[in-house]
């Protein structure tokens, strides 16, 4: 019986292959760089080939459209890097939107209503986090439950009606752009969030704890990481940002509905996984995720402008996701093949 080389890309073969290469080359070989290169390629090709793609109008709509996915993808990265998952984000977004609509209709000042929505988001995330940690349930099952629960409350509160009257100042803020650049004002918020989450994941003990939990929960626990506390905080962040995205969504479309952003959770998770975050946890980076979100957004917008029916886009998104998770497997298989051929004597021993 022959024992094949371990397929995991973290194991020996990969380490030897990387050893001795200069830093810039190692950087270029990372998963995140592959996504970024793909993103740049798509942008260049689309600007050259697709009419009206390289305009500020396109840029504006593109950024307005990807903003909610981009926002939620940031905390989702933390959750997935811990080896957990949160399917309830789109429902939290919808609930936040409904709450905002009901409260403003009841005459609450908008800033107070916004704070109430954010608190609701924190509570929604807290419930997820406590069920996962204290009760010890798998997050996939928990968040399928809260996906239905939060969406159910949202739809139950408003039914099929919608709240559409919001102060012009707030809807304007969510839709307006910086002069003729086409860049939406809301991107300030998104960029601020990106900075916060990059700092949080890559430069704080909290972030290192998340990576450690993703590698091995037990090792992290014995190394002094407060596993449960870290998990609860990550889920609360996800709830908070989902609620924030709900507020943005409501003002952007000027409409609070129970079924807002239905199914968005799958787009967010697809983008995060495309960006190189491992579903097993422990591996990933924010810049990859941002590139992943933008790659899907740019591709979809370019294909739509090129009059490719919006149907092909689904196929491409799905295929892209599958390819992206299978590619490391192909690569490691290819590497192990080359490794074996290069050192036949060692293999015989």
């Amino acid at each position: 019986m022959t024992i094949s080389a371990p397929a995991d890309s973290r194991t020996g073969t990969r380490v030897y292959a990387d050893y001795g290469r200069p830093f810039w080359m190692r950087l270029l070989l990372t998963r995140e760089m592959a996504v970024i290169v793909a993103l740049i390629l798509v942008i260049v090709i689309a600007s050259l080939e697709v009419r009206r793609f390289g305009t500020t109008t396109t840029l504006g709509f593109l950024l307005l459209d990807v903003a909610p996915i981009l926002m939620i993808a940031l905390p989702m990265t933390l959750v997935i890097m811990m080896g957990e998952i949160d399917l309830s984000v789109a429902s939290t977004l919808g609930l936040s939107s409904v709450l905002l609509g009901i409260l403003t209709q009841a005459g609450w000042p908008v800033p107070v209503a916004i704070v109430a929505c954010l608190v609701m988001g924190l509570v929604a995330g807290l419930i997820n986090g406590l069920l996962v940690t204290v009760v010890g349930l798998p997050s996939l099952a928990v968040t399928i439950g809260t996906l239905a629960l939060y969406r159910g409350i949202a739809v139950g509160l408003l039914g099929t009606t919608a709240v559409t009257s919001f102060p012009a100042f707030w809807t304007g803020l969510a839709q307006s752009k910086f002069g003729s650049t086409g860049i939406p004002v809301a991107m300030v918020l998104v960029v601020a969030l990106i900075v916060v989450f990059v700092a949080l994941l890559h430069f704080t003990p909290f972030g290192r704890g998340i990576v450690a939990i993703g590698f091995s929960t037990e090792t992290a626990h014995f190394s002094g990481v407060h596993v449960n506390r870290t998990k609860v905080v990550a889920f609360m962040l996800t709830g908070l940002i989902a609620a924030l995205a709900g507020i943005y969504w409501t003002f952007r479309y000027g409409s609070a509905r129970g079924d807002n952003a239905m199914g968005l959770e799958l787009s967010v998770i697809a983008a995060v996984l495309l960006g190189g975050v491992s579903i097993f946890g422990g591996k990933g980076a924010i810049h990859g995720v941002i590139a992943g979100v933008l790659l899907i957004g740019v591709l979809q917008s370019a294909l739509r402008l090129a009059n490719v029916s919006s149907d092909v886009i689904n196929i491409i998104t799905g295929a892209l996701l599958i390819l992206s998770v299978l590619s490391p497997r192909f690569l490691s298989w290819f590497r192990s093949l080359r490794f074996r051929r290069a050192t036949p004597e060692k293999q015989k021993q």
Partner: protein, 327 residues
Amino acid sequence: MRTFLRSRETGILAALVIVVLITTIKNPSFLFSQDGFRDLLLTPSILVLVAVGQAIVIITRSVDLSVGSVVGLTAYLTGRLFIDVPGIPIIVVFAAGMALGAALGLLNGALVAFGKVPALVITLGTLYAYRGINVLWAGSNRVNASDLPKDFLALGTSALLFVPYLTIIALIVVLVAGWYLRNQRGGRELYAIGSDPDAAQLYGLGVTRRILVAFLLCGALAGLAGVLFAARYGTTNSQTGTGLELQAVGAAVIGGVAIFGGSGTVYGAAIGAVLLLTINRALPILGIPDFWQQAVVGTLIIGAIVLDRVLSLRLSRQLISEREVSA
């Protein structure tokens, strides 16, 4: 008798009986009118099929999120076959639908088994891809009841001695799948793989082959559900079956199929599916707008998994204390 009272399915069955009882007391026609009784059996039948397939996959510690898209594709295939091939025998349409479902399931299984990537990611991808193919194929066309043969539509709505055909089909599938999982070597191996994939591999079980079979069965059942969907509702378009995957996973989880594999039965999943859809129909009668259905479902799912956790903790404690006594 004691094993019956103790089994996980009993609790969920009791919940179902209570829901039906209360609703019937409130409005007797819920159960005692001919339509009421028929709908009670007919409405959940399609979800039961999908939930049984889903349960088989979840037992092996995987999950298949693409079932909603598979149902949509086969439902549209059913309509197209009747339109494009006039006079095609109904049995051939059933075979074609299940074959397409099985092929799509096999593709999922192959990607999961050979790619060594979690099924969640793979089937999330195929969820998009299959739906995309469906939209590409159907476009804005829809198949209407007038395009389908009378016999076929009758299959979806009529009954044999008050029991709808759909329910009979679903029941047969549940019983056969339940028997296979409980009594056959292949079925037991699915549980073994779900409990501990590495141990199953070391023990020499054909893990890859079993996972392929599980996904194939799940796809074939989703295909059957798609054909029956066309028969039941008469109309299908590119969006048929959207969101069904979460209902199916929810039904399995409510029915006591542990999401981490290795435990649960297809009977539980089937009862879970019936409970989900019965609650949906009971709510308006109980004076609650059916907008609240999802909230009830969510609470149920969470309640079921919490209960599952409590029971399994108690069981493991019991086993430990028994071991200490005997030693």
